[in-house]
């Protein structure tokens, strides 16, 4: 008897995965990539914050990273190696507060931030009259501005280095201004020792053009001329009072190339920032030498520096002991061989 064969059987097709380059094709720098995930079970708002952080880290992050409860950091580390992931952003939650850990893979260091306050991107969009989200907003990595970190303390220096390297570097000779759409600001407040974490979208507007004309050029739509006596009124009549207020001299830029339909290289443009979110108020709590492990380099709470030292010294002692033991063993082995 002939056997029935499953005709529907199809050969296995390997899913096509577009590989992101590990190295920037123009400058040759290594592109930092990141994972954003959580340890432990998070409440809904924090899960949303995690999603917002992933969006912030786009495009060089895993937006749809799935994690299970039994996954530990080692699992992520194992994946991170071959995928070229250089940074981990780990959210966790205790009864006291939510925490954000930023670590370099594979060896560390790890910075632990206590999140004092946070607002989600959705909250911020909700409180704006016109939240802005152009389609290509998240296609390029954000710029980063670190402000107020120049106090010369070690842990702050380390923080700046960490955050600078979390986004790919920009070569100002080759960068296209159209790819600079977002900016992440971290502002350190000396008095309170808190960091304000903000995320803005960058928008450029030509200066000296009335709002009506700008909209007319941008939108391709026939303007509403009902209330006007003459066509010339459209150009000459001033609009609302708030128009003139924004043109701050400090915020003007002359562009290297034309940007969009409106912003010409010849004319000056005003830089306007609108917040996208998330918004966080962070406090640097702890710095560890390894990835979520190792000796504590810095601790915000009191004289833990000394404790860390003690620990270190203890560990060192242990290490030396081990070495000694090994040496002894070696000697013994040698003795046996002889």
């Amino acid at each position: 008897m002939a056997r029935f064969r499953n005709k529907k059987r199809k050969p296995f097709v390997k899913p096509f995965v577009q590989k992101q380059a590990n190295v920037d094709h123009i400058t040759g720098d290594k592109i930092p990539k990141s994972f954003v995930f959580s340890r432990g079970k998070l409440p809904g708002s924090l899960r949303q914050l995690q999603m917002d952080l992933r969006k912030l880290m786009l495009p060089f992050t895993a937006l749809k990273l799935k994690e299970k409860r039994r996954n530990n950091i080692k699992d992520f580390l194992n994946v991170a190696g071959p995928m070229g992931v250089t940074h981990f952003l780990i959210l966790s939650k205790t009864d006291a507060a939510p925490y954000l850990r930023v670590g370099r893979t594979p060896q560390g260091p790890t910075l632990t931030f206590k999140i004092h306050e946070y607002s989600l991107a959705a909250d911020i969009a909700q409180c704006q009259i016109r939240p802005r989200c152009p389609s290509d907003l998240f296609k390029n990595s954000p710029l980063i501005v670190l402000s107020g970190f120049g106090t010369g303390e070690q842990h702050l220096k380390l923080t700046t280095i960490m955050f600078q390297n979390i986004f790919p570097a920009i070569d100002i000779n080759t960068v296209k201004l159209s790819s600079c759409q977002r900016i992440v600001l971290i502002n350190y407040n000396k008095e309170t020792k808190l960091m304000d974490f903000r995320h803005y979208s960058i928008r450029l507007q030509p200066i000296g053009v009335s709002r009506k004309i700008r909209k007319f050029v941008q939108n391709h739509q026939v303007p509403d001329l009902r209330s006007l006596q003459d066509v010339s009124d459209f150009v000459t009549k001033a609009g609302y009072g708030s128009e003139s207020e924004a043109d701050d001299e400090a915020a003007t830029v002359s562009l290297a190339t034309d940007l969009g339909r409106v912003n010409r290289a010849a004319s000056k443009s005003a830089v306007k920032l609108q917040e996208i979110g998330p918004r966080m108020t962070l406090e640097l709590v702890k710095v560890e030498e390894g990835l979520c492990s190792g000796a504590v380099i810095f601790n915000a709470y009191g004289n833990i520096d000394t404790k860390g030292k003690e620990q270190q010294t203890k560990e060192e002692e242990n290490e030396t002991d081990d070495e000694e033991e090994e040496d002894e063993e070696d000697d013994n082995d040698g003795g046996d061989a002889e």
Binding site: I115, C127, L146, N173, L185
Partner: protein, 312 residues
Amino acid sequence: MAAELDEGTKKRKTSCTKSNSRNAIKRNKKLKKNHAVAENFGIRKMDRKMKKMLRKKARDYNSDDDDEDNGEKEAGNSEGEGSSDNEDSGEENIDEGNEDPEEVLADDDGEVQPGIMRFSDGCKSFQMAFKKITKTATTDDVLGPVLSAHKKLVIEKLAEEEAERKVKGEAKKEKRLLGEKGHLKPANYLDSHEKYLIGIATRGVVKLFNAVNKAQHAQKGLNPSRSKDEKAIKKRRKEAFFSQLSKTSSQTPGKVAASTIHEHGDGPEWAPLRDNYMLTNSKLKDWDKMPETMDVDDFRMPQDTHTSSDED
């Protein structure tokens, strides 16, 4: 059934309750006829009688619903009209009701079989009881009509349930509050702090854009991927770099760090001029070892300047 209804009508007179229908009257007449027929034809033929009785029963059964409906509909019918007719027919029907089952069901002795209740009696008592219940005015109680014996129990149970729910709700609320800890809904307006932060960020962006503008102005109209242009670009960049050096030896350099614009509150802005430049700590060895972090100091010059300076 018919008998019962008639009794109902009889009662209506005294108790002033509901109502009468024309259908009922008609049917009573019919019944009379049937009765007469039954008397004329044989008492001897039991199956015929049985048949008749069954038919009658079926008719009564079927007409029951209609009757009630009609009764309700025609509740407002004039009482005067029905009163005189009903009295007569009612009396007759009572007799009939008494005779009919005897004819059919009674044994030779004429006694009613045990276990079989007179239809009319049962219905009457039920009617009475039901009416009594429906007549009683219920108090506007939260619990609704509940037998008084259980009232206390029910109240206790409800109170207990509510308390339980309250406790549960509070626990849930507490849990949610704990989860939401630190979650802050931003205000609709921009406060001074936010404005200050936006100002800082704007300054950063402006700095970067100006730097980009200056850098890219030099290589305008040249394609960096072509080798001929590349040389020209290199030359121009070198010139630009030297002009920068000669011009701004004391001021801030025009070219700012690549992606990272670092603003310091105090001290000179060029990193090497600061006191804490290249501060090294034995504890910070691990990340210092990594080559990338090493060369990315907080003030990295653009690549071309590195190369050009190396060449010279």
